[in-house]
Amino acid sequence: MVRTKGYPEALEKKLRDQRYFNEDTNPEFTKNVKGISRTIAHMCYQCGTCTGSCPSAPRSTYRIRKFMRRAVLGLENESLTDPDLWLCTTCYSCTDRCPRDIAPTDVIMAMRNLAFKRDIIPVNFLKTVQAIYSSGHGVPNNDVNRAARERLGLTRDPPTTHMYPEYIKGIQKILDHYKLKANADRIVKEREG
């Protein structure tokens, strides 16, 4: 017994009853997922077409079908804390082929939105938010590129927010309306100090 690494918590976890009990279901979760994804997530009949189409499935433990099952059964905690949630590339192959006309990709996006509400989010997403807040773009310009642009007969900065930074204010207002920047900064600080 003492040999279990991280004993006694790890032993407790290993021996815990893993069965599915009614209490594990949160019907609100199913409703929220359906509301945000705007798709009939509860109609999944687990045919497996989605996972069969998924590029991430053969090279990881990510199973879109399993996430759909969790959406149907309202297994909120499991879904939102599973790191595989972030392996979907949103290629939409599953949605393209689903025979029940559901959009599993949108279910994943809905779950990600709900995870974010719990501060569960990989830090690269937050960095993108910060970049857009400051420049309006996810990708900054640089001098090598400016020189190339000039050579190509283009303006050194593209006619986007890079060239017209006055438009950034509008973007910031949108992000602030949803408190996105504030939350992103807070979480980045918590993680990276």
Binding site: T49, T51, G52, S53, R63, P99, D101
Partner: protein, 710 residues
């Protein structure tokens, strides 16, 4: 054929006569009614009995029955009101019976469910109480009230009061009517000669009824002829079908019309006038040759014409995998054994005529379609199915990748009389496949709009059968069945599933996401998720068989409209009631057999054919059928003989006749369907629609709009 109660709100002169006083209404009704229509009871004041049904909690749960009852007592002409938990039950009907006698009622109103359900029941109760059965009116306070206003007690109660008031107003003006009995032609028609059509025709013929069996293909047999073996018995399909085909060919009571289609249908139950188009075969049967004076001539199926024909086309029976000529028979066991010319490909070179020879002279290149009129009492539709065009589901590569075939193509390949003499080979290289994938639910259970939402029912079973067949024929082969469910529902079906799994077939629970082809080997990669193992799958196989969905035959849509049959949302023909009347339709005298009503395996197809034949034989054996007396009648005193109504009638039921030196309109009651077109139109108010007469309808409208809490 029963017309639903629709109010034709056409103003006629009789409206002026109707007042709110009930007796005045009745006098008006008497004045307006044509002589000869009995309104004896209108001499007396109308005495209506109102009976309110609780229908358990179906009605009572949504409205206040007592309030409705109290209100009913206040409606003019109401002499008696009662309520009961289940009016349609024996004690319920007894209540009506007793009330009529005790209270000398002149009419009955039952406020309950839809007349489509119990109108006959209560009409009988009315009759047994001593009144004419048409002195009955029903107020639907269930389907049209309590069931759709379940949470509005107040609203539904008020609505029920209105409905009863309206019904009472009409009931006060109802007349004695008598159903018209019409004779039934002692003949039946079956459209479609697959196993369903043949079975139905044989049953009808054996019951002594002359049956016209119409088949659009040159031969009978349908889909069953194309199958190799049948599950779960593994009988050879054509072997068990041929005796039936031969019986059909020989039966004296069956007039077989192959290569024919229904062109037009007129009439009604007991008296259908059907025009059959006998398509030009280009080849004479011995009977036809005899009729032309060619003694001992006509096609004897020798086949001399076939080798000389220069035109080669794909044989549809073999799903395009074997050639045929422009003059052809689909396969060696066709019934009748007569060749047919495909005019779309015939170049009229005449070589076949020469080959046929001067003695048989069986070929007529100038043949034309022939229209034949037959009269039948009842008809059965058994038009069968087609495969869904599964190339529409591009993810599986059908018609793009050579080694992806459909289940029907598989049947022909594995069949000993098929294009490869029963050897399963890969279309790309003719090699024997060692790994075969069966894709179930290909196009079925599909809500994308590109596919069928229903289950095609028999594909699970035939895929199991296919797996068995390759284990039988190809040593060392491996079958993979990719499924969502295995629906082995019938007798000995689950045992068959057990057997196939025991024979070595591998079952992978996952719907096939997509299939990719290796451009060099032409092998297929089947991609899915093994949902039970929770692992994505990339299975390389030599051949893929798609268990494609089935759909109604294309021409069925045209044929069903001729007979007045509806189709359901999924496209299959609509039965009268899915549970209690799966072989009938809402059109009296027309029945359904086989897959045209919905996907079925062979046992269920044969059973439905026998059911349809039984139902179709009843009116014929009875010899007559009662038509509901909703006809139009001419009030001759008012008829100006203008004749404008004659052409309006969609059923050609009206005619002008000489009577007492002047022209008046006359109705052929058997043809009249009571649609009301003429009655609504007549500018002189000279047409009386039985049971839906203008005074009656106007009384209902007045009662609704001008009545109310008394």
């Amino acid at each position: 054929m029963a017309e639903k109660k629709k109010s034709t709100t056409k103003k006629t002169e009789s409206k002026k006569e109707t007042k709110h006083e009930a007796p005045a209404k009745q006098e008006a009704a008497q004045k307006a009614a044509p002589s000869g229509v009995s309104t004896t009871k209108t001499q007396e004041k109308a005495r209506i009995g109102v009976f309110i049904c609780h229908c358990g909690t179906n009605i009572a749960g949504s409205m206040d029955i007592n309030a409705v009852q109290d209100y009913a007592k206040t409606i003019p002409n109401v002499a008696y009101v009662d309520n009961y938990k289940y009016m349609c039950s024996m004690p319920g009907q007894a209540v009506i019976n007793k009330a009529i006698k005790d209270n000398k009622l002149t009419g009955v109103v039952v406020a309950a469910c839809s007349p489509r359900l119990h109108e006959p029941t209560f009409r009988t109760a009315t009759k047994e109480g001593g009144l004419n059965q048409f002195r009955f009116e029903m107020a639907n306070i269930r389907e049209q009230n309590s069931w759709v206003h379940m949470h509005d007690q107040e609203g539904s109660t008020e609505k029920a009061k209105d409905a009863i008031r309206i019904a009472v107003a009409k009931a006060g003006l109802l007349q004695d009517l008598f159903p018209k009995a019409v004779p039934v032609e002692h003949a039946a028609m079956v459209v479609g000669a697959g196993v369903a059509g043949m079975q139905a025709a044989l049953d009808l013929a054996n019951a002594g009824i002359k049956t016209y069996l119409i088949e659009s293909q040159p031969t009978i047999g349908g889909r069953m002829s194309q199958l190799d073996k049948t599950f779960p018995t593994l009988d050879c399909s054509q072997c068990i079908l041929t005796p039936k085909m031969v019986d059909v060919g020989r039966a004296a009571n069956i007039e077989l019309m192959t290569y024919s289609e229904v062109d037009a249908v007129e009439g009604y139950i007991g008296n259908f006038d059907v025009t059959v188009r006998k398509k030009a075969r280009g080849v004479l049967t011995p009977a036809e040759a005899e009729a032309r004076g060619i003694v001992g001539g006509g096609c004897n199926g020798c086949g001399d014409c076939e080798p000389v024909c220069p035109v080669v086309k794909p044989n549809e029976f073999e799903v395009g995998m074997k050639p045929r000529k422009a003059i052809y028979i689909s396969h060696p066991q066709v019934v009748p054994l007569i060749y047919t010319i495909d005019w779309n490909s015939c170049i009229k070179c005449g070589l076949c005529v020469t080959a046929c020879g001067p003695e048989k002279k069986a070929i007529d290149l100038e043949a034309k379609d022939e229209l034949v009129k037959v009269k039948v009492g009842t008809a059965i539709l058994a038009t069968g199915y087609d495969m869904f065009p599964v190339e529409k589901k591009t993810e599986w590569g059908y018609k793009k990748y050579e080694n992806v075939i459909s289940s029907l193509e598989f049947e022909r390949l594995i069949c000993a009389s098929g294009p490869t003499s029963g050897h399963l080979v890969r279309p790309s290289d003719g090699e024997t496949p060692k790994r075969v994938a069966f894709v179930l639910c290909a196009g079925s259970r599909d809500n994308t709009g590109n596919g069928k939402p229903y289950c095609s029912r028999f594909c699970c079973m035939y895929s199991l059968k296919h797996a068995h067949q390759i284990y039988e024929k190809i040593p060392g082969v491996q079958a993979y069945l990719f499924y969502m469910d295995i629906r082995s529902f019938g007798k000995m079906y689950e045992e068959f599933y057990y057997r196939i799994q025991d024979e070595g077939a591998k079952f992978i629970r996952g719907r096939v996401a997509n299939i990719l082809e290796d451009p060099v080997t032409k092998n297929l990669h089947v991609h899915t998720d093994d949902t039970l193992l929770n692992r994505p799958v990339d299975m390389e196989v030599d051949l893929v068989v798609l268990a494609a969905a089935v759909q109604p035959k294309e021409d069925t849509n045209r044929t069903r409209k001729l007979f007045g049959v509806s189709c359901s949302m999924d496209g299959w023909l609509l039965e009268a009631h899915p549970k209690l009347n799966p072989c009938g339709t809402t059109t009296a005298g027309v029945f359904l057999a086989g897959v045209c009503q919905g996907p079925k395996d062979i046992p269920d197809t044969v059973a439905s054919a026998e059911g349809a034949a039984s139902a179709a034989s009843i009116p014929i054996h009875k010899g007559e059928v009662e038509l509901e007396p909703y006809f139009a009648t001419c009030i001759e005193e008012r008829c100006a003989g203008c004749g404008m109504c004659i052409n309006l009638c969609p059923y050609s039921a009206l005619a002008l006749v000489e009577k007492d030196g002047r022209q008046v309109m006359q109705v052929t009651e058997a043809k009249c369907k009571g649609c009301g077109t003429c009655g609504g139109f007549c500018p002189g108010g000279a047409i009386w629609m039985n049971h839906f007469a203008t005074p009656q309808i106007v009384a209902q409208i007045d009662a609704f709009l001008l009545g109310g809490e008394q």
